[in-house]
C-alpha cells in the first residue's frame, strides 16, 4: 500500500474544498468591483446573522466565514430540500494592496458589503511635470 500511495500521489491528498475544521463549506456568490479608492465586495450570505459572521483580514488574504443561525426545529420534517446547512467560506488573496486597518463591513438581510480601501502606496497618483 505504501508503494501504491507513493506511486499515486492523489491517494494521499485530501479533498481540496473542505474547510479547516473539517466540515464542508460552500463558496458564496460574490461580486468584486474596483474603484480608484478601493474595492467593493458584495457577498450573498443568506441565513447568516451578525453573530455567525467572521471576517479575518491577514496580510495577503481576506477570509469570510458565515455560519447559518437558523436550525431546523426537531418537529419539522423535511419534505424537500435545496439549500444546505454548510457554512459559507470565501478566501480572497491580495497582494497587500488593501489597507487592512480601514476595512469597513456591513451585513444586511443576508448581504455582506465590504469596503476594502486601497493602501496609499498603490493609489494612482498624479505627478506634476515641472
Amino acid at each position: 500500500m505504501s508503494l501504491l500511495t507513493s506511486l499515486v500521489p492523489s491517494f494521499t491528498r485530501s479533498a481540496a474544498p473542505v474547510a479547516r475544521e473539517g466540515a464542508p463549506v460552500v463558496k458564496p456568490v460574490y461580486d468584486l468591483a474596483e474603484t480608484d479608492e478601493g474595492y467593493a465586495l458584495t457577498a450573498q450570505l443568506p441565513g447568516v446573522s451578525k453573530d455567525g459572521l467572521e471576517l479575518t483580514a491577514e496580510t495577503g488574504a481576506i477570509t469570510i466565514t458565515g455560519r447559518r443561525t437558523w436550525k431546523q426545529p426537531e418537529a419539522w420534517a423535511t419534505l424537500y430540500r435545496e439549500s444546505t446547512d454548510a457554512a459559507y467560506e470565501l478566501v480572497l488573496t491580495h497582494d497587500n494592496a488593501v489597507d487592512i486597518d480601514k476595512i469597513h463591513a456591513e451585513l444586511r438581510d443576508g448581504v455582506l458589503r465590504v469596503a476594502l480601501p486601497k493602501a496609499e502606496a498603490v493609489k494612482p497618483r498624479k505627478i506634476q511635470v515641472g
Binding site: P9, S10, F11, T12, R13, S14, A15, A16, P17, V18, P24, V25, V26, K27, V29, Y30, A33, Q44, L45, P46, G47, V48, S49, T69, W70, Q72, P73, A75, W76, A77, T78, L79, Y80, R81, E82, S83, T84, A86, R108, D109, G110, V111
Partner: protein
C-alpha cells in the same frame, strides 16, 4: 411539483467525496475553476433555493433571498400554487438595475388554511407559514378493544 432543482455554485464542496480519486477530482475542479474564472460563478442568477418542511400544525416554505427590500417581496397563493416574487435592486454608481425573481411551489389547496398564511423575512431568508386545516391535521383516535 413544478420545482426545478437549484444547484449551489460549488456543489461538490457540499458533498465530501470519499473516493480515492477525490484528490484528482479536486485538482480537476480547481483547473476548471481557474480556467473558467468568473464564468463558473455565473450560475442561473434568476433562481433561488427553496426548502419545504412540515410539522403537525403547518407547512413551511423557506426561500433564500438575500438583500431584498420587504416592499419588493410578494407572496401569493393562487389556485393551490404559492408564488414567490422578489425584485432585487442594485445600483452601480448612478445606474440602477433591477430584476425580478420568481418561483412557484404547488401546495395542496384543500389542506391549507388560506386565511392564516403568514410570512417572515430574516437574514435574507423568507419563511412562509401555511397553517393546515383542521381536517388535514393528523388525528389520533383511540379505539377501545373489548
Amino acid at each position: 411539483m413544478r420545482i426545478v432543482r437549484y444547484n449551489y455554485p460549488s456543489y461538490r464542496s457540499v458533498v465530501p467525496s470519499r473516493s480515492p480519486w477525490s484528490g484528482l477530482e479536486g485538482e480537476i475542479d480547481r483547473l476548471f475553476n481557474s480556467a473558467l474564472g468568473d464564468f463558473a460563478g455565473s450560475f442561473a442568477p434568476d433562481r433561488f433555493p427553496v426548502d419545504l418542511y412540515e410539522d403537525q400544525e403547518n407547512t413551511y416554505v423557506r426561500a433564500e433571498l438575500p438583500g431584498i427590500d420587504r416592499a419588493d417581496l410578494g407572496v401569493e397563493l393562487v389556485d393551490g400554487t404559492l408564488n414567490i416574487r422578489a425584485t432585487r435592486k442594485t445600483s452601480v454608481g448612478e445606474k440602477e438595475e433591477s430584476f425580478t425573481l420568481n418561483r412557484s411551489v404547488r401546495v395542496p389547496d384543500a389542506a391549507v388554511n388560506t386565511e392564516k398564511i403568514s410570512a417572515a423575512y430574516e437574514n435574507g431568508v423568507l419563511t412562509v407559514t401555511l397553517p393546515k386545516r383542521e381536517e388535514a391535521k393528523p388525528r389520533k383516535v383511540t379505539v377501545a378493544v373489548n
